[in-house]
Structures are given as C-alpha cells and as structure tokens.
Amino acid sequence: MTATSEPPRNAVPDPGERGVFAPPSSFRMPWGQATDARIDASTLPDDIVLSVRDLTVAYRVRRGTVKAVRRISFDLRRGETLALIGESGSGKTTVALALVRLLVRAARITDGSVVYRRGARAVDVLRLGAAGLRHYRWNECAMVFQSALNALNPVIRVRDQFLDVAKAHGMTDRRAAEARALELLRLVQLDADRVAGSYPHELSGGMRQRVLIAMGLLLDPQVIILDEPTTALDILTQRTVIDLLRRLKGERQFALVLVSHDLALAAELADQVATVYAGRIVECGTVADMFYNPHHPYTLGLLNAVPTLSGDFRALDSVRGQPPDLIDLPPGCAFRPRCPFGTDECEATDPEVATVDPARSGVAGAGGHVVACLHADAVAKTFDRHASAARK
C-alpha cells in the first residue's frame, strides 16, 4: 500500500543550513535543545504556519496493520481555516492527533513531516524532544478534543484547570493567569466567575465546549485544532458555538484546523476544505471549489448527502456502502468499490493527488484545488449537469 511511485520526501534538510533561525523577541522557544528538529523554513511560503508532507500513520492491532493515514500532505496558511471532512473511520481525527503527537500507543508515524513555523523559525514537530513538544502543545498549537463532555478533569474546578495550563507553560503569576482565564471565559460568553468555580459536571455540554475553546485561547496559539466541536451538542448550542468560533477567528487571527463530518459546518467556518477518505486527502480546495466545482466522486457523494444551504433537498444519492477496511484496502483506488464512476483502470492504480487548476498551488490547503481521481473531469461534468438540473 505505502509502496508509492514517489520516493519519500526528505523532510529533514541538511542540518548545516541553520542560519535562518532568529528567536522572535516575544516568545521563549525552548527548541534550541532539539537541534535535529530544525529545518529550513525558507523553502516555505511566508504565510504558511503548518506544512504537512506525506504524513503516514499506521497502528498495529491483532488482525494486522491499520493504515489510518496515508501520505497526507497539506499546508495551513496563517489565519485561515482548513476543514478536514470525512466519514467516521476515515482517519481525519488521526491526522489531527498526529499534528500534536498524541496518537494512541499502538500507533506509529511511519513517514512524513509536520513542519511548524512562527516567524522565521520552523521545526519538524515529529522530531521535537520532550520539552520542545510540551512547549509546542498549547503554546503554539492547541488541540481541542472531540468529546468536550469528557475533556475536563472531573475532580478539579475549571479555574484550577486553567491554572494548570498556565503553570505548565511558565505563567508563574497566578493572579494574572486567573484574570486572563476569566477574561477568556467572558469572551466565550460564559458567566466567568460562576463557571470558573464550577466542576465540569456542573456545566452543560455547550458550556464545557466553550470552556475548552477559552482554554485553547489561553496562550494565544497560532494554530488551533478543533475536532468535531459541535457533534455532541444540540442544534441551538451548535449555533452558538459556530457563531462564537467565527467571531473569535476574526478577532484573534489564529489558524484553525477543523475536523468534522459535517460539511455544513465546514461551509460556515472554513476557507479550505479537504475531503478525507480511507486515510487520504482525496480532494481539497476552497469552499467554493468544493461546493460548486467538486472533482472527486466522494466529495460529490458527501454534497449529495446533505441538504443544500438554500434548504431544498437534492436527490440524496449519497455514498453507497461502507467505508473500506483500513487493514485490508481494496487494490487501486480505495473508493473504487463505492464509486459510480469506477472503471477497471481504477483497480489497477491508486491515483496520485493532482492539481485541478494548474494556475493555483499544487498543494492541498494553500489555496490550491487538488484531487486524486482518474475520472475527475467526468465527475465535474456530472455535477454541473446535476446542479443546473437542480437549479431549473
């Protein structure tokens, strides 16, 4: 499976080129110790904060090796939102966890690189030492988990959980940290004093989700990863959280990686949307690309699976069948068994990601539109027909 036509990309450039590093004035970055984590940031465009290349994650279970993430590459631009959309089991959460290196014990990142950059400095997250990693987590990249209901320690008050984070990252002034926590709680529209003094079980699901978001903002990270931020919430609370996120994004200018199965959420919050299938990004483009010019049958299927924004329902010929077994993938394109466009050719080759519009970036996420399908053009045409038919 991972036998690729392309040789693995060397994510670690020659350690000799380290002149580009100049510590930013306002940040204490303990990455000095992690010498082998230093990479050349100059090859990256200035506005990229996170650059993922060929990220591959596998984990061993009794039955064999689960190929959870297969050579995923994308870039995240400063202040932008990238949504990773897929069914459950598609590997999108694994990608998110790999970005902060919080995979389960059995899982291994077998290949690839995750380069994080702030200013002129850049590191390969996958090579960070313990201290560097601890700094990277939350200071630079905050990941808020899927299950907001269980993400808070049940026996510690919310205030103390904020203080825990502050202390762990060197904010020694307890009073200042507490003041900031209260401010953030207010920012997410909570009754700050009451919530701070509460235990998690005393808060509703939406409140807890907002506490987590506030906590994510505590150290002003450049990147926030939100895994299914609205899934466990009722419709009204979902709305509140979505509005809140949109507002915060505007105010705080953090880059957001949004992991969801909900295309509608992506449409509301994301700049770029990537559809993930069987551990791969099968298509990625701007919201407009994905909603109005999809090139992958899976994207198409997901679009058909949801009501349109305008409210009228399309013929729901959503994606038939079940996601593939990640241990025993079908030959060629993993989507082939469920694909209405599939041909024999699809069984022979697993298509590489290719750009749809050669004028734009060839990498997922950074404004490009890429797709991995042999019949991408046919898909796009079908959608056009379908869409115009629906408009009539």
């Binding site: 987590r137 939350w138 906590m215």
Partner: protein
C-alpha cells in the same frame, strides 16, 4: 412538597407538619446516612444474636465435650462440673434473652463472658481491639499505598516485564489464603532457613516490656507486629495492585488525560492530579469495604502468630460457644465496617465532587 390538601382538618395539618419535619430529616443526607448505619448495626446485632444461638452446641455442651475428650471424664461427672461452673440460665426463652440483650446493648453493655464469668465483654474488647486496629490499620495503609503505587506503575508500563511479573505475582498472592502465607512465613523464614526469630516474634510484645511511649516499647511492638503486617500486606497488596492497574489503565484512556497532554501539562501533574486522583476514586469505596475483610482475616492470622487481638478472642469464644463474647466481637467488627462506610460516604464527596453532599 407536602402541603396538605385544604379539605383536611387541623389534626391532619399537625400530622403534615410532623411529616414535613420527618421529610426534612429524611432529606438530610447526613441524617439519612447515620440512620442507615444505626439500622444496619441493629440488623446485624439481631442476626448475630440468633445465629450464634443456632450454632450447634451450647457453651455447656461444648465444655462437657471438652472434659470428656480431654480428661476422659464420664458424662455425668462432666455434666455436673459444667453445669455448676456455668452459672447461667440457658433455658430462659430466647426472646427474653434477646430483649435483655438489646436493652443492654442500647446502654453500651455487651454483657459478661460465659467462659470467664463476670468479666465484661466490653473490657475484653477494650483490651484486645486496639491491637487489632493497630495491626490492621498499619497493614491497610501500607498495602493500599504500595498497591496503588505498583498498580499505577504497572498501568504506565503495560506489557513490560514489571507488569507481567507483578500481575502474576499479584494474582498468585491474591489467591493464596492468608493463613497459608502466615504458615509459610513461619515455616520457611523461621524454622527452615532460620532467618527470623519467629518464636521471639510471637505475640504482640516481649515479656517484660513496659507499655509506654518509649522507644523500646515502640520498637518491640513493631517487631512483633512485623509478621502479621507482612502477611496482611502480602495477601492484600495484589488486589490493590491489580485494581489500581485496571483503574489507571481505564483512566489513561480518558479524554481528559489525553487532553491534559495536549495542553502540554507536565507529566508529574498529569500522573497525580489527572490520572492518579481519578484512578483512586473507585478504590476508595473498596478500601472501606476491605476493612471488614481485614477484620475477618485477622481471625486466622492472629491465631497463627498468637497476636493479641479481636481475632484471637473470637476464635476462643467460638470454640467455647461464649455467646456474649462472640456477639461482642461480631458487633464490634460490624460496627467498625459500618462506621468506616459511613465515614467513607461522608468523605467521598470531598474526594469526588460529582457525588458531593447536597446535590
């Protein structure tokens, strides 16, 4: 709410307010818990009273059998001796005995021993219980502490040699009865390999030692308690270890632990406040329950090490069918378990805010 329906006359109102008062009391968590504890003790006292009397053989018959077996006395002679030595009326109707027992119990009087007549059961318990409490208390403390530390280590190093060996060791020790361990300790460490002076270690202190807060006394008491404590710890630490391992393993999978890592908290803080504290919660209830088991286990261990304690007198009371002493021992054991449970219930709220009183 209990507002009486308006059609009811005044006496009903009075009844309603009484009822309301009762409801208020019943709604009070602490009062409810204490009431339940008292009820439990009464139920156990009643049950032991009757069960003890249902046991085959009464004290007189027991003594007769003993005289016949040991001194080969003729039955008539043994019966005469026994009957005159036991100046008690066992023929009194059981329900009368029961009410007099309850009445005395309410005043804290557990009656007098049959075997050693005139000796108050309370004075026997006062003389013996502190030793059991001391021994059991220290054992439980060590066993629990050691168990949770080892259990947590096993959970962190799942699949390591340490994990496998401790798991095997723990389940092995868990399945060996404590008196066997006690015997093994005596036979091997004491008699075979002569590593320990087991003969000197018998008992709860050496002859000639004067009780008091002196170093000599404390050392001597610890020296004598070492083997019983070792036995308790060895036989119970496995359970704590395995429970703690299971609990920690489960906690490690909790989102808040992973989330704590995502937040970049230090490992020390995660281990203590996030994993440890939550993993111990289920063990807390078990700890109070185990006090009863340890009391139960003290019976055999104390007998084997000839350690002064409630277990020793219980054994001799049972073999002599000394009803009041048996009742006293059972009751005090029950009371300590009930009390421990009550304390645990009241304290649990402080450990786990989710069940905090007044919710």
């Amino acid at each position: 709410m209990v507002a009486a329906s308006p059609t009811l006359a005044k006496p009903a109102d009075a009844r309603a307010s009484l009822f309301e008062g009762w409801r208020a009391l019943a709604d009070n968590y602490v009062a409810r818990r204490i009431g339940k504890a008292v009820l439990t003790i009464w139920a156990v006292a009643t049950m032991t009273f009757f069960l003890v009397r249902l046991m085959p053989g009464n004290p007189v018959e027991q003594f007769i059998g003993q005289l016949i077996a040991q001194y080969q006395l003729p039955y008539a002679e043994a019966r005469d001796q026994a009957a005159s030595l036991f100046a008690i009326d066992l023929d009194q109707p059981v329900y009368l005995q029961y009410f007099s027992f309850l009445g005395k119990l309410a005043q804290g009087d557990l009656g007098t021993s049959i075997k050693s007549q005139g000796v108050k059961v309370t004075s026997i318990i006062v003389a013996f219980l502190p030793w059991t409490l001391f021994c059991v208390g220290i054992s439980l403390f060590i066993s629990f502490g050691l168990g949770i530390i080892l259990g947590a280590l096993m959970a962190y190093w799942r699949g390591s040699v340490l994990d496998y060996s401790l798991t095997t060791f723990g389940s092995l020790l868990h399945s060996i009865p404590n008196y066997l361990i006690a015997m093994i300790l005596i036979i091997f460490l004491g008699v075979r390999w002569e590593l320990l002076p087991v003969v000197k270690m018998r008992g709860s202190m050496s002859p000639g030692i004067q009780p008091g807060f002196t170093l000599v006394f404390v050392l001597d008491v610890l020296f004598h308690a070492a083997l019983p404590i070792l036995t308790y710890v060895v036989t119970t630490v496995g359970t704590w270890m395995l429970t703690m391992k299971a609990s920690t393993t489960a906690t490690l999978e909790e989102d808040y632990v992973n989330f704590a890592r995502a937040k970049g908290l230090t490992d020390g803080r995660i281990r203590t406040a996030y994993v440890g504290r939550n993993a111990i919660l289920p063990l807390f209830t078990q700890l109070t329950l185990s006090i009863g088991f340890v009391f139960g286990g003290s019976v055999l261990i104390e007998s084997i090490f000839v350690y002064r304690g409630i277990g020793t007198i219980l054994v001799s009371a049972v073999s002599g069918r000394d009803y009041p002493v048996m009742q006293g021992c059972f009751l005090i054991t029950t009371a300590s378990v009930v009390f421990a449970n009550l304390l645990a219930d009241l304290l649990y709220g402080y450990v786990d805010p989710r069940v905090r009183v007044g919710q």
